[in-house]
């Protein structure tokens, strides 16, 4: 008979089995009961959650929870920064508000750049600034309503005077005439100026030269003197050079890297003794006397490629350049390395070295 070979009947859902064992019935009922019990337990739990019953302590949970701001101050009302309202309450921090007047108003908003995105402003040059401790750049363009002229202002915050003086020195050329206006040191560029004040370095460039530009640049100069700065101690090396040699701030600069054109030599302060002369005193403070001793030896080894030894004591050496015949004096005392470069006479640096040593002694008590 054909139907005898079939496993399923033609409706495919009716079992052909006539007998179901009691063990099967029992286990089915048992599973159903367990399922109902589990479901009822689950439903009874509801939103009941007590951290004490969990394995993570209350303190741990409190520590790891995100800080919730229970109150957020309302947003400031937006206003178009280019709207020509001279009275305005424009927020142009950190620029002093009095750089604006009825004629000169900002073109667009202030742009802020940080080390991570400085390349968006000065691609290709960003590394130079970052090497000198760059922290922030505020960029503002002022437009003259009467002339249609624009002046771009770049204000770099280098964190301390070392960075700002280092990048300022990088921008100077042989023809740069350093001027001083109160706490601001600068040189004029024809279309503006480049300068520094404390930890700030700035570049101001107009579209073209002109009397109105000069007038505005002077006004900006006065405004930059009012730049707000946190009071901070001047670096020790700066104070030693400034006080011992009685030099103005514009004579002192910092070089973060590639000192003496040597890749491994970093963080030296320089003081130009005479604007007409290339001779410079230098000073470096190492992390320890041993570190400075190693650096002293490394510099000496490198300099011997170009210089010959005229005199050598334990921690003092006088070298003469093989072609230029200039003298290089270097001395180490404790963690300090001091000296002079580009001297035209061997004896020319004795007084300066003595003053520097005295300054170091006084500073370390």
């Amino acid at each position: 008979m054909a139907t005898a070979k079939l496993i399923f009947n033609h409706k495919k859902r009716v079992t052909r089995r006539s007998l179901i064992t009691s063990s099967e019935n029992f286990s089915a009922v048992l599973l159903l009961v367990l399922l109902l019990l589990a479901g009822s337990w689950f439903l009874r739990q509801g939103n009941l959650y007590d951290p004490w019953e969990r394995d993570i302590s209350q303190e741990q949970l409190l520590q790891s929870q995100p800080k919730a701001a229970l109150y957020s101050p309302p947003l400031k009302l937006w206003r178009d920064p280019t709207s020509p309202s001279p009275d305005s309450q424009l927020d142009i921090e950190p620029f002093p508000l009095h750089i604006l007047d009825s004629n000169w108003q900002p073109r667009g908003r202030i742009s802020l750049f940080e080390p991570a995105n400085l390349y968006e402003k000065i691609n290709g040059e960003a590394e130079k600034f970052i090497r000198q401790g760059f922290r922030q750049l505020h960029y503002l363009v002022l437009r003259s309503a009467s002339e249609g002229l624009e002046i771009a202002i770049e204000l770099f915050d280098h964190g301390d005077i070392a960075g700002s003086s280092g990048i300022f020195a990088d921008h100077q050329s042989d023809s740069s005439r350093i001027l001083r206006s109160g706490p601001v040191h600068y040189f004029e560029t024809g279309v503006g100026m480049i300068g520094r004040k404390g930890r700030y370095f700035f570049r101001v460039a107009a579209d073209r030269e002109g009397e109105d530009v000069k007038e505005k640049v002077q006004q900006l100069l006065e405004a930059f003197a009012d730049l707000k700065e946190d009071t901070q101690d001047l670096p020790l090396e700066y104070r030693i050079l400034s006080d011992s040699l009685n030099l103005p701030a514009e004579a002192i600069s910092f070089q973060a890297q590639n000192v003496f054109q040597l890749d491994s030599v970093e963080d030296f302060w320089f003081a130009a003794l005479d604007p007409e002369d290339k001779a410079r005193a230098f000073l470096h403070r190492g992390s320890s006397a041993d570190a400075s001793k190693d650096l002293y030896q490394a510099i000496l080894a490198e300099q011997l490629y170009d210089y010959e030894i005229m005199q050598e004591l334990e921690d003092l050496v006088i070298l003469r350049h093989g072609f230029l015949n200039t003298f290089f004096i270097m001395q180490r005392t404790g963690a300090f390395i001091l000296g002079m470069e580009n001297l035209t006479e061997e004896e020319g640096g004795e007084d300066v070295m003595a003053m520097l040593l005295e300054g170091i002694d006084e500073s370390i008590g």
Partner: protein, 341 residues
């Protein structure tokens, strides 16, 4: 037998067939389940948690060779000296056999100036806009070009850069069409043999249906690579995170020498930023010459400008040697250079 019984046809499936079908269904289900649910990193998985798998893939484009063999192929660099901008430009081009040897009537010409920064032209950070004006007029009037496009992808605001540099105004007044970049203007460009930009985002929109390409580069000091001249100018056509290339700047410039084969290259020797580049900021650092350089060998042109305009001697930047090794040109231009005074 009743009528309903006659319609009834019992299922004749056998046990063996049922097992085979069941096994087949199980196997098919398992395969489909694997393809759909297996983690993405396993072979043949079609799972797409991030949606990246179903992203439309783009076929990289390649640029045609825009170069034209000049009549006198021995001359690779021509220097125009003494005169106003228009005169300098014509002298430089005449040394190469004249602009009409390179651009024919009906050509669509792309001019690529250096508009890198939001700087006024007197600071030497960008190409002199007067050269762009004169060049576009030459192309439209003398060569009867169908269209002249001017394009660059500055990293600062493109509109501000074109406005401040004066190049946008100069181009439009002369009859050119300025193309500013936006997010949809880029496509992946394939540069065979390039080490860093073999497949890289490229400012492609202005290149559609272009038949000739002319680079007009500023000559200036550069903080990282010593000098930015003709080859480095093409950097302005790259998109993406191109600032990362500054870690290996000589390699990327050598790649740029392979990326595009322009019809002509011009070097702006009228405002040369001698130091503190590439942005400058002090006009006293800009040296003014009455010189424009035209040529077809960018390597030789850059070497000449490095020595004679930037006055850096023979200590050429590393990227010129790399570009020479890759066959993009020859540093030594002796016998291939012509001066029109």
């Amino acid at each position: 037998m009743s009528q309903s019984d006659e319609r009834y046809r019992p299922d004749r499936i056998t046990r063996r067939e049922a097992l085979a079908r069941g096994a087949g269904a199980l196997l098919g289900g398992s395969v489909l389940g694997y393809l759909a649910l297996a983690p993405e990193h396993l072979p043949f998985s079609r799972r797409d948690d991030t949606g990246r798998r179903s992203e439309p893939s783009e076929r990289p484009l390649t640029l045609p060779d825009y170069s034209v063999s000049p009549d006198d192929s021995t001359i690779a660099v021509s220097i125009g000296r003494n005169g106003e901008i228009g005169t300098l430009l014509r002298k430089a081009l005449d040394g190469m056999g004249g602009i009409r040897k390179f651009v024919q009537p009906g050509d669509v010409v792309l001019v690529k100036p250096n508009v890198a920064f939001d700087r006024s032209p007197n600071l030497g950070a960008t190409t002199n806009p007067a050269i762009i004006r004169e060049l576009i007029q030459l192309l439209l009037v003398d060569c009867r070009a169908a269209e002249v496009r001017v394009a660059d992808n500055p990293i600062e605001s493109p509109a501000d850069c074109f406005a401040k540099s004066g190049i946008g105004k100069a181009a439009e007044e002369a009859g050119g069409r300025v193309f500013l970049p936006d997010g949809n203007a880029f496509r992946t460009l394939n540069t065979p043999g390039a080490k860093l930009i073999e497949n890289w985002s490229f400012f492609h929109r202005p290149f559609r249906s272009v038949t000739k390409v002319i680079g007009v580069a500023a000559v200036k000091d550069h903080n990282l690579c010593s000098a930015s001249m003709g080859i480095k100018n093409w950097y302005g056509l790259l998109g993406g995170k191109r600032n990362n290339f500054h870690q290996d700047i000589h390699e990327i410039i050598a790649d740029l020498s392979m990326m595009i084969h322009p019809t002509l290259t011009l070097l702006d020797g009228t405002h040369v930023l001698m130091s503190n580049g590439p942005t400058g900021g002090d006009p006293s650092l800009v040296r003014k010459y009455e010189v424009i350089v035209a040529g077809t060998d960018q390597v030789a042109m850059d070497a000449w400008a490095y020595k004679h305009l930037l006055q850096r001697g023979d200590d050429y930047p590393e990227y010129l040697f790399k570009a020479e090794q890759r066959g993009s040109g020859r540093i030594d231009a002796s016998g291939r250079i012509r001066e029109v005074v």
